[in-house]
Symmetry: D2
Subunit: 351 residues, 4 copies
């Protein structure tokens, strides 16, 4: 099969670079265009970017000329690493011009009829796309990935919801510095310190899971009935968002039953067969001191959830710790997996 040409919007930033690196050898996609700000447009990508990844810059992309972020690119699919403000303006312009917009930005995550997707959790939400196209009068469409902090906490919530019914979740996150982009967090703010607040993050954590765990009904998405309380903190860790979560369930479950539900869970077949899908989506560790960011963030090439320490919560019902790699599963890799799902479902046509 020949590959689907794609563009990366805002390819010079931290998330954009990750898209570029991950798509370099992708079996289905091929980078045909990269866009950047007015300042970098017209330059060779390799000259315009301050490359911050340890993996080398793919040579084919280094030689592309950076284009302005305008909907006149010769590709059917764009991966958006745009900052929120620009995403708000430009993503609809691309959808309106017929592009499939696969975004990592927050601008349209909670917008009606925009699927907020994790292929292993809610692949059926792509059924919202025709309605989105119809309501907006767009030939193209937007699909979004959740915030990286939401991602870390949400898979066990989903599994417990299916197994026992989920009524509430109380979340405290410890988030890595790479989540703030580059240059992002000043070293003076975080070395030997914790910053117990990340603007806007608590709200995302309190809202996005309700959409991810929602159910399709009559072509509409019904948000999950679910109270969530969240507190996001920034800690001196490079990569890997750790979430301490307590949940209240509809049906009582012992920790042993909950662990059994986690271990027994399998992603839907369509998700499991995607090319980037990890061999094991959820790794449960029995040791009391896991997951740890440094030891577990790279599980499944950064696409696996690692969960541990499920035990009784004396206030709600169960507690657990969950971890994902925030720039891979929580950002670029997660969005690529969404695009793969759209191809597998036939929504993005194969060439």
């Amino acid at each position: 099969m020949s590959k689907i040409p794609v563009a990366v919007l805002a390819a010079t930033g931290a998330v954009g670079q990750r898209f570029v690196q991950l798509l370099a050898d992708h079996p289905w996609f091929e980078i045909a265009a990269v866009t950047g700000s007015a300042r970098t447009a017209g330059e060779r990508y390799g000259d315009s970017v301050r490359w911050i990844l340890t993996e080398p810059m793919p040579e084919a992309v280094a030689n592309l000329v950076v284009q302005p972020t305008e909907p006149n690119l010769d590709v059917p699919v764009v991966f958006s690493a745009l900052p929120t403000v620009e995403a708000r303006e430009l993503e609809p312009a691309f959808a309106s011009a017929g592009y499939a917009v696969v975004t990592n930005a927050s601008a349209y995550r909670m917008t009606e009829n925009v699927p907020l997707l994790i292929p292993e959790i809610n692949p059926e939400h792509t059924a919202l796309i025709p309605r989105q196209q119809e309501r907006c009068g767009w030939p193209g469409f937007i699909v979004a990935s959740p915030n990286c902090s939401t991602t870390s906490a949400v898979l066990p919530m989903h599994i417990f919801d299916r197994a026992f019914g989920l009524r509430a979740a109380l979340i405290t996150t410890m988030q890595a510095i790479s989540g703030a982009g580059y240059p992002g967090v000043s070293a003076l703010d975080i070395v030997d310190n914790i910053v117990p607040h990340i603007p806007g993050e608590d709200e995302k954590l309190e809202n996005e899971p309700r959409k991810l765990l929602g159910r399709m009904s009559g072509g509409e998405l019904v948000l999950a009935e679910l109270a969530i309380s969240a507190e996001a903190t920034r800690v001196p860790v490079r990569d890997g968002h750790l979430a301490a979560v307590s949940v209240r369930l509809e049906e009582q479950a012992t920790p042993e039953e909950a662990i059994e539900a986690l271990r027994a869970w399998q992603p839907p077949a369509i998700a499991a067969e995607l090319p980037s899908s990890p061999a094991q989506t959820l790794v449960y560790r029995d040791e009391a001191d896991r997951p740890q960011p440094r030891l577990d963030r790279s599980n499944g090439a950064g696409l696996a959830w690692t969960v541990g320490n499920v035990r009784r919560c004396p206030v709600l019902d169960l507690r657990y710790m969950a971890l994902t790699h925030n720039t891979l599963r929580g950002a670029a890799s997660g969005a690529i997996l969404n695009a793969e799902l759209l191809v597998a479902q036939g929504i993005i046509p194969r060439p």
Copy 2:
């Protein structure tokens, strides 16, 4: 007033050193003896200790000869920095020999009739001492300080309990490496990492506040009726334990009312007048990103609580973040404050 001679038990360890440093210029106490292990006994203190504090070692103490930890010291008061196992055996021996044992160890914290003290919270619990002496047949006695993680979370719990009634608390801590003593945590375990488990710590956090918030009734201590769920983690921060707490109250309170209760709170007069008592025991910060360990751990010379980000909890009732310095308020300074309280109450006689 001439000073009360005191001894520091296990004076060469991390907490023992802190006792030595803090007592160097104390207005009421004077170090007359230091004890150590069989290995160091007989050596000059200055030669036997690997001093890990930035403050210089007090010269008068450096010249003391380390004594074995046996109840034949010529002082009425001993500060115990003993490890738990040794504390379990030796602290009763000292109490039985007539010493006032002011301990930082966990061995007897939850033991009936042993006051678990924070002078600003429950100074009246020293009324348990005569009962302890009677039941054990001891001329001396033991009073204990809570665990450093308990300390960080508990003052707002106490204030909310008095103001609105406290029914439950859900706590996630981010604890500093100095809490594990020296050498304690391996750098390989914590640089660029979080260890989401500290053995025994969750249990302490779930039990000790019930005793601290208990009420004296007919000479007995009645534990507070209170469900607590705790998860303790270790983060790459040198000093300062941060606790993210959600509470359920008996009477509804808005965040504004809760903040007002925190700001209006004053410690009991007897606590406020102790020589080590900070000018301001509770510092409330309005900024959403406070308290931060590095910026707030030294408030009140390390004896203040810093609290911030009180807001509505969508699952329980209120959330907040609280911080204390774990080796000062949470360990040595806290125990010294307990000894000062005993002097102020006349339980330890002035010379």
Copy 3:
């Protein structure tokens, strides 16, 4: 004595804040004005600044209105924390308008007739001031402090120069993140990493000591004949610049003789009596593993040099390690000490 009113130029930045904090209770100086950028001018200082120090902002200064950085301030002395580019333009304007400009900026450090001062090393260099005034036609003048990395290495160089003659120095520094200001270094660049280059820093290290160690001759400053090789690196340490130095001497000296020279050295009387002068300017530590940034940076309230590990260098003659606090001795405190020297010498008149 009533105090000398002073202004802090660029008072909202990292170094400016440090000036404000240190001058709050100064016995000789009193802040009468603070200046800032066009953006902040006109605002209350307390509202315009993102305060990054752990010490609280002095209230009297918080209530000052930020003024534009223009030479119409009603003070005789200005402390400059201006960025290099602005310093280049504005400092002569102030000198030309009659102000004593005590600067921490690099713009004029190597300019002829501008004294580059460390009071303990070269207080006699202030004799350049009249010549500066004459040549430039200024009623005021500029005196400069050396770069923070130069400062850390230079005091033992000076002492060895006086004792044995210094012919060459080979320096490798390990510099703290606070040396780059705020926000300065991105956490992603420095957590679990070293950046082995700081733009412009090697040149400063290779040039400034030649001026500091120069001698006055016939009213002119003769630079020291001295070859210096320097490599500056940035390490994940908050505060404290550590320098590993090898020196070649004119007269052979054993490590023991060199240590004796360090221990015997006393600052000139005029420097020792300045109000900010530390009780002990040079602390020599015998332990092989000192100086350490965390343990030694605060010696002498951040104004002392800590030196250790003097030993034979198999390639040159001697090696040593030296440390100073980069934002105190190496920046704001050092400049304040320079101003105190000017008062003590009668160059800045007392009121």
Copy 4:
């Protein structure tokens, strides 16, 4: 070709684990035995070890029973990760019993007739082995790897020696915490700090390069005539030893000529063809701020040297920065490469 069975001595420690992980899929070697202390002998390896690597423990090894470290193992080759004191006693016992001992320990590095090997630098030094066997009366033999700090600095020294003649080197290292093993460095000693001394390390750095750069003459090894001055420091970096080096040359060379010599250098053919040999042994980076530990330590799967910032030294002749991964090239991978060399040279027979 069937594989050569090997044993790992002291397989449960930090270096031992790395040997186990790296040999798991080795094309020439296969782990047939692992040894440990009296405490762990008899246990299943998987149960006896506290695994500290992020890579999973190889299952085949996990099921081996830990044996005591005695020369009765059914393998021809042993990889020694023994602590120095035990290596001193046990490695000769193994050599005397006929084993090829490939060691990472320091005990016999500088011993006459024990080759101290880096295959890319001095593969011809294995000619010492017959003389070692003859003098000691051993059917087996010992070959050693240099200290991890020596390794980081030495390849450019070798290249410059061959190209221009090397007369002196002045080295300051910034070494990672993993170099001290596990638990090794206490977090309290290194977070926000540098420890400017590592016991014994300066001596190794000052001696080992003279052996590595020595020349065989009449069957004897003649040490290089070379003055070395070294200062080793420990910095808060997980992996990767960085060395700042100044060299004096016999023939003058410009930085450009030196860089050209580095770029033109190729390892000897026998080294380049070893199975673990990296595609590029020396990576020269043009950017002034490289090499950086985090960005460059994994070059060549942790077996490459990364060098940068070659420039004129105003005191000696040239300066440069060099980096290697201390637990890979500097320890386990380096020793495995040595064993591969012995096989390629026919000294260890293929099965």
